[in-house]
Amino acid sequence: MKTMTGLEHSASSVQVGIPAAILKPKKVRRRLDMTLWEKLYVAEIVRGLVVTSKHFFINMIGFIFPPAGKKRKVFTVYYPEEKLTLPPAYRGRPVLVADAAGEAKCVACGLCEKMCPAHAISIVAAEKAPGERYPERYTLDLGRCVYCGYCEEVCPKEAIVMSDEYQGLAQRDRSRLVFEKEQLLRPEGKVKARLTYVRRIYSKWNY
């Protein structure tokens, strides 16, 4: 499928959680009429115990002699030390995209401000040259933002996108959640994966 912007779909290489190949979802068996064997209960309980203790023993061996080189079976991420690579579909906090000169791509059209359901965005527009608007101030109150992504969807300039940043959103003071333009600017390279993804999914509706 050709996208609106002419870019091919690029399969993302980042992965979160259990790869589908390992998970191998089994078909759910919904049987209300149990056989006598199943009604006897004990056998089925033992079967369940075998499953859980199999996990127990395999993991115990894995903990005591960690298999070298192989990915461990335990999927827990030691959070502050290890971090997940999030997929581009993840809606972290919105950021402004900077162009090559480091200026915001935003043209201060005010669509996002109008669209935002939480009234998190406020823009003070100004003109660089006659007819060339730019946001003099662009304030995003992350204490209000609900991470809906409407601002990103509505922006005609791809100037605001949802990033994969999720840290720093727990503060003792709400005023510290109010981000100014300078704090929001990110170079375009940093949000490339999200931009590609956004172009792909929004092209479906042909805006």
Binding site: V42, I45, G48, L49, T52, S53, F56, V74, T76, Y78
Partner: protein, 357 residues
């Protein structure tokens, strides 16, 4: 006389120390860690002392400090006396029930006959049932005296569940008692020196019923309707905090240890290693002299006994983290419509076999 006293005190201290000092704190850790390992997680591992985490063991310590220093809260209008009494009534039977469980056989040591059981009662197993019945009061009192609807419902459910399961539990054991012809746990243990006389081979159905009822008596998942975290907050101990709360937890863990010990004694050869008689054990250690041999045999037997106990604790934990909980009506149906008839059938067949043999 003095020697008897010293022996008794030593045995009591040993059992008390193992139960309260080792099992009670460690089982909290085991429960967390085992559930984690079973579910492909890692489990508690952050509490550390100077960067040393000891695979999460310090969480038990942190818990203990936290709960001991917490405010002891009694709700308004609660019956203060019974509210305070209830955790004790729960905890004391759990500790005391271990008194009749033999954790080793008889040994000649320095001319004295050492008998590794605190109280060798003639009625043995009945004592365990009596104390299990007493533990019900703790639960019911806790539920009733808290003046909370959740607690009251929990207490009601507990009384219904625990009393029902006591019936099936008692009946499940009678078959075994008939086969062995004794109520004394020490004698039952001694008979099982012969591997083929282990209770599990003589009474497999009795074992399953007893295990089920014992878990139900202990109110653990899948029979946790008195606690019912998803419906009743915490059931009968909703209104407890601090030390009293920890006492309910300790009671639960110690009951688990006691159940494991009783199951080991009744069905799994008590302190015996399969195919190894006491005499064989003594002859293996003969080079250590008669006293040394007896002491070594004693240590081996105690180790074997507690290894078996640990296995059954592991099994109960595995059951707890494997099975979904029952609904209240299912618990009752299981007891009265399945376990009770089954134990009666088991009883009559055992009776016939004993009679005809």
């Amino acid at each position: 006389m003095a020697a008897d006293l010293i022996e008794s005190v030593a045995k009591i201290l040993f059992i008390f120390g193992v139960n309260v000092g080792v099992f009670a704190p460690i089982l909290g850790w085991v429960e967390r860690k085992q559930s984690a390992v079973m579910q492909d997680r890692i489990g508690a591992n952050r509490a550390d002392i100077l960067g040393f985490t000891a695979i999460g063991l310090f969480h038990s310590l942190a818990d203990a400090i936290k709960l001991l220093t917490k405010e002891d809260f009694v709700p308004d209008n609660a019956s203060k006396f019974f509210h305070t009494l209830a955790p004790f009534i729960s905890l004391v039977p759990a500790i005391a029930a271990f008194a009749i469980v033999p954790f080793g056989g008889r040994y000649e040591l320095f001319g004295r006959e050492i008998h590794l059981v605190i109280a060798d009662l003639d009625v043995g197993i009945l004592y365990v049932f009596a104390l299990a019945g007493l533990a019900t009061y703790g639960t019911v009192l806790a539920g009733w005296s808290s003046r909370s609807n959740w607690s009251l419902l929990g207490g009601l459910r507990a009384s219904a569940q625990m009393l029902s399961y006591e019936v099936a539990m008692g009946l499940s054991i009678i078959g075994l008692i008939m086969v062995y012809g004794t109520l004394k746990l020490t004698e039952i243990g001694a008979i099982q020196e012969n591997f083929f006389r282990w209770g599990i081979f003589l009474q497999p159905v009795g074992f399953i019923i007893f295990m089920t009822c014992a878990i139900a008596e202990n109110k653990r998942i899948p029979f946790d309707i008195p606690e019912a975290e998803s419906e009743l907050v915490a059931g009968y101990f909703t209104e407890y905090s601090g030390m009293k709360f920890i006492m309910f937890w300790m009671a639960e863990f110690l009951e688990m240890v006691t159940i494991s010990a009783v199951v080991t004694t009744l069905f799994f050869g008590a302190w015996h290693i399969p195919f190894v008689t006491d005499a064989m054990l003594l002859s293996w250690f003969a080079p250590a002299g008669p006293n040394g041999a007896a002491a070594l045999a004693m240590l081996v037997n105690i180790a074997v006994f507690f290894a078996k106990v640990s296995f059954f604790i592991w099994l109960q934990m595995t059951i707890r983290w494997t099975l979904p909980r029952f609904r209240y009506d299912q618990v009752m149906r299981m007891c009265w419509k399945m376990l009770l008839p089954l134990s009666l059938i088991n009883l009559s067949i055992t009776g016939l076999v004993v009679l005809l043999r």
